[in-house]
Amino acid sequence: MEKAVRIQPDLQFVKDLQEVGGEALKRCYQCATCSVVCPISPAENPYPRKEMVWAQWGLKDRLVNDIDIWLCHNCGTCSDMCPRGAKPGDLLSALRNMAYRNLVEPVAIGKWMSSSSYLPILAGIPALLYLFIWIIRASQLGSFFPLFTWDEHAHAFVTDPNGVVVYGGLFPGDFTIDPIFGLVALLVAFVFFRGVVKLFKSFETLPKTFVVAGAPKPTWIEAVKGVILDEVATHVKWKKCGYSTAADEQKFKGHFILFYGFIALAIVTSIVAVSHWGGKVVSFIAPLGHTPMELWNPVKVLANVGALMLLYGLTQLTKRRLNQDPTKQGSSFYDWYLLGVIWFIALTGIFAELLRLANVPVLAYPIYYFHLICVFMLFAYLPWSKLGHLVYRTAALVYARRLGRVAVEPKEIKIFKL
């Protein structure tokens, strides 16, 4: 006889899950409607029904090692169709939230990121850091709101009462921006690395036989390629989650445009960083990333287009969340934190640019200061935020593809027409 598996229910885990967005999970009566209606759930051991059962029984060990929570794209079809209002979609996002909170150390940040009551700490860290820099620089430059002109001879900005607003003058990139954000980027990359290793290790408890009979296992390269082409770059999979209602459209378009807005801004940042720091070695590329740029500069144009894309995407996603039916789906703090921070980044970024052009130092510098705080809040806490899905989901999708754990392609059903 096969060996019985010992079950160890964890009541506290049930309560924790209910707190981070799965409050309706106990209502499930295991009819499996959710797994049936899910457009992208695999045929073998489909989600989210099994997750609902595990969650009701507080089977923490299974849920924290569950790859399927990352396969779900939270279209909400399961929650819409659930006859008991158990919101399986919300449970899976709650499980992801729990992963953001607990997957990587220091878990203190995870805790701060889980509730609005810790916002002062999260915002306070960059706020104090840059306030400190601002005060030092103000004492050096003799003003909290200095104006600058470019001194060709000194190859630097120098204060000039008749000059213009130059953010790099007050907060020199070489000393106050790039080192801090560079360090943050390195730390975040390291944390993510550890997170992904941990994640993969947890997946190892999964059965290895998820492959649908006969399907060849892809190599790692093929798996990565597949994920990038099918999921990340094109959002093809996600579109399968449903593209019929206004909310579906808002969600898909919003995310897609927002994603590419970030890509555009990442390209701009890369060009500036590479040409600036690379220019110190290969001097002829240096002018390419010289800021502030003229408005007609193609890189600047790309930056501005990126900013507008952010605004459009945010509008769509926010509209959708505000119009959700609370009996079917809920939004957690994780959702609102991410949307809020990006909103602030986009708005402070755009206003910082406009106020710089209008040359209003008393408004421009504070706005830029806020922009720095928001950007810090987005990137420094990335592994513990919902945006962590950028890495975790991508990693999990690659792993799942390697395992062959992919959704069954729906077969065309013949409909007889009279």
């Binding site: 229910p9 009541l11 009701q56 008991r84």
Partner: protein, 769 residues
């Protein structure tokens, strides 16, 4: 004996082919002075039609009214004329509407009157007139009655019943065997929800109920008291009670039986570890444990996790295994009953042995309660300790009806965890906790889980599975008959009629009838109480109770010719007849339900009703014209139709456009049990080619309104077949078929199949003699 009969023929009832005037002419010619008034009317079931008859009745010249047209099952309120006998001839549904030509074709609309239809209508008219001629108005003997109701059992159901009866203005004697009122409910911590929103366990309310009962001046309570014997008949029972002050006898009119249940023998729970492991308790034990305080385990320490095993497949499998349980009580019980009943008939002093009917099956019968109780008690666990958990393993979570809301609410508690699953094993851990293994669960194929305490279901066994309880002083014995068929639950489950038992005047309520919740028991108590009141309020006017409610007729015995054969006393399904030492039947009219089974049983034909008797039906049969040549004029068959199900099924079939052979003639009977074999002899000697009996289903899933009627008829038909054989007549000419009221669509096929068989057999050899 109606001698001056007014015959009224309804043109709207006889259809387009038959002519009311011609039929009236036929009646006048046939009966002459016996029918001084013969009238037709375009639509009798109208103000005008009623006024026409009323005027003739008021004029005083008539003692009988024969309304010919629609079925007696409709418009009976219109054709109700006090002071005269009223009879109906069903020319609409069972003659005009169901007519088809002998070849199966339908007569052309507006065409000539088919000969066979005319013959049929005339047969029915003749039968109608003679039926009235052979009828008397029943004059019941109205007995002295007491209106006091005896409620047996002082638990939740009995208390409710007593309060209901008192509220309706009846005096109540409440008898409880235990020292205190309250029964099981008083031992419980809480009840499953009884009121909206049906989501939280609530206080049982038993103390308030006890208070209300003891404070009610109409209710007298006798605790520590048992019913030793119940003598007499409804309206006039003498209850012999044994109480703390010795025996006393008191008069009661009707009885509500609310004696409830006892715990099932715990040996059936052994496969789930009960008895072997200290920390395995029954749900009733757990209930009292929680009522006393908390979750402390019998084996020491406090339970932080409690597993409720609603799945009892291990127990039922063990009980089904042949060798393991020598007691296997279900199987021998039915046989044990029968020889014992016979003995009872032989000599009353033979010691009465009541078969024990408890078995493992009661676990399955209690499954709804087991599910609900597990949900309730899982709630106790999280209520008493917010950090404790309750696991529920079920094969079927049975929460019918409104209790679905309770299931949802229970499930919503974080500490209550449910899974479907089959328990495969239970063993003790070193710390006296229990490890439960289960397969086919929602959590995996084969799992095991540890719990500090295990709760197994308490199955409910009706008190009547162990003892007669009602202790009747009846010829047929002290107990309800045939209870092994219901594994001891009181036979109140006529499909359509709860609370009824086979002893008139005694109505069952609560868990003695079937396992039920306190909420259901409350409704049940009200129902049974109303039935008891209805009984008392009928018999004091000489009327029958269900199912012939309001019937004033009763069996009359012509004792001069009685041979003391005891068939009537043995066969009466309701034990209405006692007998004297010589064996002469002693009728008890208030026990009688007027089914006529005794009349059907009597070989000497000494039993009759004023308005329903051997001579009457026999004379009616003789009115059916049987043509001497079957080839030329078709065969003839008599169909004796049970009034309760088969007759309405025929009406419905006709109304829905079914037609059948024009050679059958229907005579309604009160019950197939009332069919005396002499009627079959009458029909056969008249030269009729066959007799079909249409009645209710019999056997374990009987639908007979009088429980045993169709079954007894079937037994008698075996004798009939034997007699026919002896006479050289094919026994296939007499056939009993079972029809349920909803099987109207099959009735035409039954009739046609029978007629085809008759035609194949050929003419009755007695034809023409």
């Amino acid at each position: 004996m109606a001698e001056k009969i007014g015959v009224y023929i309804d043109q709207s009832g006889v259809g387009p082919l038959l002519n009311a005037e011609e039929l009236a002419e036929f009646v006048k010619n046939k009966f002459g002075g016996a029918t001084p008034v013969v009238k037709t009317h375009p639509r009798l079931a109208s103000e005008d039609g009623r006024a026409l008859i009323k005027a003739d009745v008021d004029a005083g010249g008539l003692d009988g009214v024969l309304v010919c047209g629609s079925s007696p099952r409709v418009d009976w309120d219109i054709f109700d004329f006090p002071g005269v006998l009223v009879e109906r001839v069903n020319l609409r549904e069972q003659c005009a509407m169901c007519y088809q030509n002998p070849d199966g074709s339908l007569p052309a609309a507006g065409g000539p009157l088919p000969k066979d239809l005319k013959v049929m209508a005339e047969d029915y008219l003749r039968m109608g007139v003679v039926k009235l001629q052979k009828m008397k108005a029943p004059t019941p003997d109205i007995p002295e009655t007491t209106k006091r109701i005896l409620v047996l059992g002082g638990g939740w159901t009995g208390l409710t019943s007593a309060l209901n009866a008192a509220a309706a203005g009846y005096d109540v004697l409440l008898v409880e065997q235990a020292e205190a009122l309250g029964g099981w409910a008083a031992k419980m911590y809480k009840s499953i929800p009884k009121s909206y929103p049906y989501t939280t366990a609530e206080d049982t309310g038993i103390q308030q109920k006890i208070k209300a009962v003891t404070a009610n001046p109409r209710i007298s309570v006798a605790t520590s008291t048992a019913l030793v014997q119940l003598t007499g008949a409804p309206g006039n029972y003498e209850a012999k009670l044994a109480g703390p002050k010795g025996e006393e006898t008191t008069k009661v009119g009707a009885v509500v039986l609310a004696t409830g249940w006892v715990e099932q023998d715990k040996k059936y729970l052994e496969p789930l570890g009960y008895g072997k492991f200290k920390n395995v308790v029954t749900s009733m034990e757990f209930e009292t444990m929680v009522a006393k305080g908390g979750l402390s385990r019998p084996g020491g320490g406090t339970a932080k996790s409690v597993a409720f095993l609603v799945d009892v497949n291990l127990c039922t499998a063990a009980a089904a295994a042949p060798a393991e349980t020598p007691a296997a009580p279900a199987a021998p019980a039915p046989e044990a009953k029968k020889p014992e009943e016979k003995k009872e008939g032989e000599a009353a002093e033979t010691t009465f042995v009541y078969p024990d009917m408890e078995s493992c099956k009661h676990m399955s019968y209690s499954s709804e309660l087991s599910s609900l109780v597990a949900l309730k008690q899982a709630g106790y666990v999280v209520e008493k300790d917010a950090s404790a958990v309750a696991y529920i393993f079920y094969d079927h979570m049975m929460v019918p009806g409104i209790n679905e809301r309770y299931y949802k609410a229970a499930q919503d508690k974080p500490g209550v965890m449910l899974t479907k699953g089959l328990i495969t094993d239970i063993r003790e851990d070193a710390d006296k906790g229990l490890i439960i293994s289960a397969k086919d669960t929602l959590l995996g194929e084969l799992i095991e889980i540890k719990a500090d305490l295990v709760v197994v279901p308490t199955a409910m066994v009706p008190v009547t599975a162990h003892e007669p309880t009602i202790n009747l002083n009846y010829r047929q014995g002290p107990a309800f008959p045939d209870l092994p068929l219901f594994d001891g639950f009181v036979d109140s489950n006529y499909i359509c009629f709860p609370y009824e038992t086979r002893r008139t005047g005694i109505y069952a309520a609560g868990c003695v009838r079937q396992p039920m919740t306190m909420g259901t028991a409350e409704t049940d108590a009200a129902g049974a109480t109303l039935k008891a009141i209805q009984c008392l309020a009928s018999l004091n006017r000489g009327m029958a109770v269900h199912p012939r409610s309001g019937d004033m007729s009763f069996p009359v015995f012509n004792f001069v010719r009685c041979t003391q054969c005891k068939r009537c006393t043995e066969e009466c399904p309701f034990g209405a007849l006692d007998d004297d030492p010589k064996g002469t039947p002693m009728p008890n009219p208030t026990r009688c339900r007027r089914c006529g089974t005794c009349m059907g049983a009597c070989p000497e034909r000494v039993i009759s009703f004023d308005n329903y008797n051997i001579d009457q039906i026999g004379t009616m049969i003789k009115q059916i014209e049987v043509p001497p040549d079957m080839k030329a004029d078709g065969p003839r068959a008599l169909v004796l139709v049970c009034e309760n199900d088969a007759y309405p099924a025929l009406d419905m079939a006709a109304m829905r456009g079914h037609t059948w052979s024009p050679y059958v003639r229907f005579i309604p009977v009160r019950c197939l049990g009332s069919v005396n074999t002499i009627w079959i002899a009458d029909a056969m000697s008249r030269g009729m080619d066959g007799v079909l009996l249409l009645g209710c289903r019999y056997g374990d899933d009987y639908q007979c309104h009088f429980v045993k009627g169709s079954e007894l008829c079937n037994r008698r038909m075996a004798n009939v077949a034997e007699s026919l054989n002896r006479l050289g007549v094919e026994p296939e000419r007499v056939l009993q078929e079972q029809v349920a009221i909803d099987e109207y669509d099959q009735v035409p096929a039954i009739i046609d199949r029978f007629m085809d068989a008759i035609i194949k057999i050929g003419p009755n050899p007695f034809k023409g003699y």
